[in-house]
Symmetry: C4
Subunit: 331 residues, 4 copies
């Protein structure tokens, strides 16, 4: 029985596991979702109705809304017919098809509580149905209000990521960098980044390894323009032995989690993304995208967020490193 060495406090586990990805697949898709299939749960067990209705695209939501409206009116029109259409006062149609249609529209007038009143229920049964329907209509309105509010008020940090990450010269070494910008005019406050480096194990290519990348800085207070997130590739970096082809060979993927406070929605928001080996440019420098407009105010051109020039990287000198390593181990 031994003493277990707990991982140091600054270790960050991305929670992706050694088996999360199939070969050749990226872990995190461009929209922030994961490349994982889950079995053993029904659709609604997995989603939850609220989540489902909040997250569906607007087009489908509209279809559902109008479809549901028609179905509800068909159901209630049938109920009114079952209760006897002679109990709907004020009908003008004479054919039974026309009468059903009038019952359908009466139902719509009741459900939306518009209640013109030319058509109106007479007798106990029709009145019970109509009273129930108008209550259902109000409840549906109450629900719709909550759902629409939920759909609109969901905060989403729209962070623009540079299409490529780069390996760039940095001080007298190199660094892994990518650039982000705030796509919305929402103020993002206290923006924090955590970046993890994932690659296939050298010896066992069915296993993935994960390393945390230490950043030049992990947090900024304001985010009005852009932020170039920098991981200096020093002797402690897990990237220090990765040459241009190593990223590809080890199916490297850099996974990014951003956290911020959105001042418009007054809520904490997260944003996820990842860079695959193919998206890393080895030897490049981001160009500035700052300018000044006529009034002397700083201008940022977000279209150029990925703009970079290819540059040569400082030569890798194994001897110097070894030397320095031994020196630093002496400290």
């Amino acid at each position: 029985m031994k003493r277990f060495h707990h991982s140091s406090t600054d270790f960050q586990d991305m929670g992706l596991g050694t088996r999360t990805t199939g070969r050749g697949e990226r872990m995190i898709n461009q929209d922030g979702s994961f490349n994982v299939e889950r079995r053993g749960l029904s659709y609604f067990e997995e989603k939850g109705i609220y989540h489902w209705v909040i997250a569906m695209p607007w087009s489908r939501f509209m279809l559902l809304l109008f479809g549901g409206y028609i179905v509800i009116n068909l159901v209630f029109a049938s109920l009114y017919m079952a209760a006897g259409l002679q109990n709907l006062d004020g009908m003008k149609a004479v054919s039974s098809g026309g009468k059903f249609l009038e019952a359908f529209f009466f139902s719509a007038q009741t459900f939306t509580t518009v209640g013109y009143g030319r058509l109106n229920p007479v007798g106990v049964l029709s009145n019970i149905i109509a009273s129930t329907e108008s209550l259902c209509g109000l409840m549906a309105l109450a629900l719709a209000t909550g759902i629409l509010y939920g759909r609109f008020s969901r905060p989403s940090a729209k962070i623009l990521f540079s299409h490529n990450a780069i390996i760039a010269p940095y001080q007298d070494m190199t660094a892994f960098m990518f650039r982000i910008a705030n796509q919305r005019s929402n103020q993002l406050i206290e923006l924090e980044a955590s970046v993890s480096f994932s690659f296939l194990n050298k010896n066992d290519h069915t296993k993935r390894e994960f390393r945390n990348l230490r950043l030049e800085r992990t947090k900024i207070n304001f985010f009005p323009t852009t932020w170039t997130i920098v991981h200096p590739i020093d002797v402690d970096s897990p990237m220090k032995d990765f040459g241009p082809n190593d990223f590809i060979d080890h199916e490297a993927e850099i996974v990014i989690l951003l956290k911020a406070f959105d001042d418009t929605f007054s809520q904490t928001v997260y944003s996820r993304s990842s860079y695959r080996a193919e998206e890393i440019v080895y030897g490049a420098k981001f160009t500035t995208i700052f300018g000044q407009n006529d009034k002397g105010i700083v201008r940022v051109d977000l279209h150029r967020i990925n703009e970079h020039n290819l540059v040569e990287l400082p030569v890798y000198e194994p001897d110097t490193i070894a030397e320095q390593e031994s020196l630093s181990s002496l400290k």
Copy 2:
């Protein structure tokens, strides 16, 4: 007068106290509630109306809704009758029972603001009642909207726990483990676990003791699949002297608190659970539930979250421990 030794910062008090459970009862039920009865407060003092209406089951909520609707209409129908039913214009019924029914339905038409208008109030008193009722109807709608939104938008981390916790081989020692999965497709971010070990005091069986269990890792950034939470049973572990029967004898219960950020609801969520002695399998290993589907994408089978094989645990060698303890105390 002495100097008090404050508990170290990583100590976590679960807040359950030494007297929280009766003998033989579990502290935390499967639904996360506590086995405690509280006296001295009225029902509404304890619950708060909003909490009560938000947390009740849907079936009771619906019953309350329809029941309240009928009661309100009965009350207002009586008021219209008191004001004189001749002041409701457009009645077709002749019997007094029929007239009351028409007043009832008129009330429903007013409360839901459908207002067909065949029936309509004439005279000051009936109009005052009707104006008041329609205002009440709108307020009820406003309330219902808030309540329905509250009911639907309450985030709930649906974490699936393995039915059993296990004592498994781990590196060259053993570890206490259980496995969790995200039952929803909601993204849970920055998932944190704190696990506490509770057992009856060796000498005084009416008292419970609580110990914090140190985990292999306490936090993961993403939670797309599963997480096996591991407490290595090393020389510092409060479980180090617990054999297979000791858990039962001391009525052990392991209490778990999980905290995460739900990306769908943009809110912090918590999940509670516990394992009782009977639910701990001494000597087992979880089987992998990862696979790959046709497209090479990782597949997780949540039905098999509790799947484990029985295995033999490494033999406990008291001498080695004592030796090592004395060694480590020398450092």
Copy 3:
């Protein structure tokens, strides 16, 4: 020019300042508000309309609602009259007073969108007014929905504080203690306490001093029953020289801030309170309020939260302290 010694990180400033209280007044009232008057701001500047409407008592809110409803209908009735009451079709009244009343009720029918239709607008002007009014009615409903939701969904940690704080024997010294309980069945998670000791300066009685009280523990994970918050009065405690009368003489007040996560509302909640010198019982012990019901389940009796027995405190031995102090300073 010197180097400023920054206060240690665990120092907590309550923000109450040395001049916050008048002589003989408590800083924090029982409801958590402060005994401070602010000048220089208009009522609405200070409150904000939303805060005002959310925080007012229900009785006043109801009055405002009905009062506003009557005023709005008076205004619109006047407008319909100005547009010519002959343009309201279907009137039955003949006197001008009766006609104004009918216009008033027509306005109510329009504002609440009940729209029976016996009364209905004819002509452009009346129609414009009616169209505007029904839109206003809908907006009012929308507003009311938000306000009612805001009023109901405001989380409030209802923490029950023992009426008295006590100085009790604790291990082989004494401790300052008070007991709290959760008055609601809401789950409070990760409950944190910070407690500050305020007293008049020995030499200058117009100035207040503040000291942070170190607690036996500052955080508990769950809060199903009660929590006795304990500040051990050791050699480092600012209370170590306070005898029974010193609390009164120095107008001592202990200020408490509690923070927790409310699992029902999914929100962080705070609770404030304070104990004044008169509320501190010097030499007492809280009695247990735990019992078991018939089924062996633990029962807590919240009525007895303040129950305590008077006890004698261990004698204060100055010599031992001095000795020990000199010892501890040697370390």
Copy 4:
């Protein structure tokens, strides 16, 4: 390859960058927005519809509401006309202009669901249009409810900043100070400040430098009255070499970020502001704004938050500093 020296943990990056401001422009405007122009995004891409509709001024919001209402009614009136106005039962107008107006008002009655019923649709086509319109009306109401709630419930910490920051005597050195007050009666809890000092680089005036200012205290628990935020200008302060004119010459700007928990809205709120060189008074002292009212309760006069008296600052003695610096470097 070297080891990168990561910035110490207490370093705070404001995220404003070295190129954020044009010459002579302030970085943060009085309303907390930034002096930056962004290009490359359409208006709605940048804002998001919800943000746009939540943040617009009330006057524009009202205009949009009424304008939209008129446009919608014009559209539906045209549809009813296209379906044949003879299918709207109950018309009283005879001219085609008058008939269109009646269709317009019928549309309004349908959209707001007031539905008087004198005018009512006959025939399939008109009924379909009317059913659709009343559904649209309900959805618009649902939307408006969410938007109005969003507009009202947005928390905003209204922090009053003293118009000037001052350099004041402090203990036996000087300090940079400004004073803030809570403008609302909302309780702000756990108020935290972070303050950053920005100035043009001595050698390259096109570049800005940023330094974090260490504060006497960075957090207070309560904020009932005022808080004077103090940065002591000691040997470590980036302001230690700045005389009265240096602030102006280097276009200094002090950027402030405040964070607190608003107890009324139960949400975290942020407040931003900045002081420019011209707003710094070199050599001054804030006067007390505390008093007592008749009942002995403390009174704060917020009108006088900026009140300060000019004072002479202690003389700057370079020798003593140098001496002390060398001493402190010996430690």
